[in-house]
């Protein structure tokens, strides 16, 4: 099925394009907009749509999508959880937290829980080293994490 945007998102798209001297520059923000409208992933239909809207080749858009880690090329769970694994967080116990989350959710890194609610991933440095360990859930940061704090968040996501 062809992909399309709601009228509201179409207006948002026009606003984004207006910020730049050419349409190509809107590629990344427009992909974000479309990804959000498409259940948080970029399908071939989305790539076609963006290519047509911005007058770009589909290959260019696909090249952009595959370069950046935050464009999902397959559907993730309803919520995305990223735990920072880089050194500052690792010094503060993120390695142990990652293992804990895998057990608690019954998934390996990169996988989605059976009920489709949570995709568990690691992130590279989230720029929150002074409040390590840190995780990002969708758009929100959770800092100074403990296993108890992680459990509270995961339970909420799983029981939603």
């Amino acid at each position: 099925m062809a992909f399309s945007l709601s009228d509201e998102r179409e207006r948002e798209l026009s606003k984004i394009v207006a910020r730049y001297p050419n349409k190509m520059a809107a590629c990344i923000p427009v992909l974000h907009l479309c990804q959000e409208a498409n259940g948080n992933w970029v399908s071939d239909e989305v790539i076609e749509f963006v290519a047509q809207k911005l007058e770009l080749g589909a290959a260019h858009v696909k090249g952009v999508v595959t370069f950046y880690t935050l464009f999902n090329q397959s559907p993730p769970g309803r919520h995305q959880v990223w735990i920072c694994r880089t050194l500052s967080c690792a010094l503060r116990g993120s390695g142990e937290l990652i293992e804990h989350c895998e057990k608690r959710l019954g998934v390996h890194l990169g996988e989605t829980t059976k009920n489709g609610k949570v995709t568990l991933r690691t992130a590279e440095c989230l720029a929150s080293c002074g409040t390590a360990p840190v995780m990002q859930v969708d758009r929100t940061y959770y800092e100074n994490l403990t296993t108890e704090a992680v459990d509270r968040v995961l339970d909420r996501l799983m029981n939603e």
């Binding site: 260019h60 370069f67 993120s94 440095c125 720029a127 080293c129 002074g130």
Partner: protein, 447 residues
């Protein structure tokens, strides 16, 4: 020399620190208004006098970079702000964007006028949703007040500021990769020359500056460039003003500390950070983001330069943190956000962790970096598993040296230097893994 300042961080703990009301109560936007009364070249000269060394890691002088912009040009000029903060250990720009966004917006107005630009793009990494929201709100507030738009402060020089989002790629913190990403391309660094001042965003003259660098412009202008520079102990090194120092890892009070330039690592870790967690022994410190070499606490400074007289013979922990002091001492200041490793840390696991980061973030454009980072990780994995050989340990050296200087951008060096520094300083720990299966190592990173 420990001298706390609060030019950027004064209101960080206020519940509405990001509001324009609070920012203006402390004199906000008066510097931007003042700037429009100064001819462009004189303004750049004033910024030069402030000796603001780029806060993003390279430490290039802000005013000098602005002076590279063409005086006359038929093409539009652009100011691009690098808010792609992602260097492991670094978390200062995020705090400015979240808690003091107006300092950056005002800095953008001053900076745009100084380089002859009418448009500024703030490139923010996608993960920082709160930063983006606060900046967007700050732009709306500033426009409503008449500080942005066609006629800021009633003058005829229009300035627009836009927030641009990335999509998860550390390499986009490299200025030419950032420009490609801004243009809607894959974030692969460009070959220089041409430098951005000749051909940057959209093929037009562009200045790319770090968030903190630009956010300091209002303060520098309010005080006068020279007065601002002299806040620093390293004024004689042309390294002026104050900056935000970060501290993370095994310390009692990790966080951000704004101080005059010239603070030492010892002051940062012990006086401000309260010392090492659990009063353990410190085995190493990475001075300013993971691309800087790790240092042992007992390393002695010895530099043949008359300005180093007060520091020679002392520990590196007592060398003032400055762009040139650390460069001349064979280190790197980077982003000035230090990471502390206590004796609970297994240094072999620490560099394994960091090299996994570099392997993941290499853009893949240059073979030495793309393959080399992966090879180093593979060797480190083998060593940690107890299957490594001494020959392979030496090969880490060889690979890192082959990456250095052989890539389009500085990422390659930034990945190779930490590997070299860890192997050089903790060679015994690596050998222990190879010869004795790592029996005497902690096997841990956390306490």
């Amino acid at each position: 020399m420990l001298k706390r300042t609060d030019y950027l961080t004064k209101n960080y703990s206020a519940p509405d620190s990001w509001s324009i009301a609070l920012y203006e109560r402390d004199g906000g936007y008066r510097s931007a208004e003042k700037a429009f009364g100064i001819p462009r070249e004189a303004l750049v000269d004033e910024i030069k006098k402030a000796h603001i060394r780029g806060r993003g890691g390279a430490g290039f002088d802000c005013g000098t970079k602005m002076s590279f912009m063409p005086k006359e040009s038929k093409k539009p000029h652009y100011l691009v702000i690098n808010g792609d903060e992602g260097e492991p250990g670094t978390f200062k720009d995020r705090s400015i964007m979240e808690k003091n966004p107006h300092s950056l917006i005002e800095g953008c107005i001053i900076g745009a006028y100084a380089i002859g630009a009418h448009v500024a793009y703030i490139y923010v990494r996608d993960e920082l949703h709160l930063s983006k929201a606060r900046l967007e709100q700050a732009i709306v507030e500033a426009r409503a007040k008449g500080y942005l738009g066609d006629r800021p402060f009633g003058r005829g020089y229009g300035v627009e500021v836009h927030v641009h989002t990335g999509a998860g790629a550390y390499i986009c913190g490299e200025e030419t990769a950032l420009l490609n990403s801004l243009e809607g391309r894959r974030g692969e660094p460009r070959i220089k020359p041409p430098f951005p001042a000749q051909s940057g965003a959209f093929g037009c003259p562009t200045t790319v500056n770090n968030v903190e660098t630009i956010a300091l412009l209002p303060t520098a202008l309010a005080m006068g460039g020279d007065t601002f520079s002299q806040l620093s102990l390293l004024h004689s090194f042309n390294d002026g003003g104050a900056r935000i120092f970060g501290l993370s890892g095994h310390v009692k009070k990790p966080g951000l500390y704004e101080c005059a330039v010239g603070l030492t690592l010892r002051e940062l870790i012990y006086d401000l950070g309260g010392g090492v967690l659990g009063d353990r022994k410190m085995i190493g410190v990475i001075p300013g983001g993971s691309s800087c070499p790790v240092h042992l606490p007992d390393e002695i400074v010895n530099v043949k330069d008359p300005r180093f007289e007060p520091f020679n013979g002392k520990s590196i922990l007592d060398l003032p943190l400055g762009v040139d002091t650390f460069r001349l001492a064979g280190s790197m200041l980077g982003t000035c956000c230090a990471m502390v490793l206590s004796d609970a840390v297994d240094p072999v696991l620490a560099i394994q962790n960091l090299m996994q980061f570099y392997k993941h973030e290499s853009c893949g454009q240059c073979t030495p970096c793309r393959e080399g980072c992966g090879w180093i990780v593979r060797i480190l994995d083998k060593i940690v598993e107890g299957k490594g050989t001494m020959e392979e340990l030496d090969r880490v050296h060889e690979i890192a040296n082959d990456i250095t200087g052989n890539t389009i951008c500085a990422f390659g060096d930034g990945a190779a230097q930490p590997a070299l520094a860890f192997v050089k300083r903790y060679r015994k720990n690596f050998e222990d893994y190879i010869l004795r299966g790592g029996r005497s190592q902690t096997g841990r990173l956390s306490l």
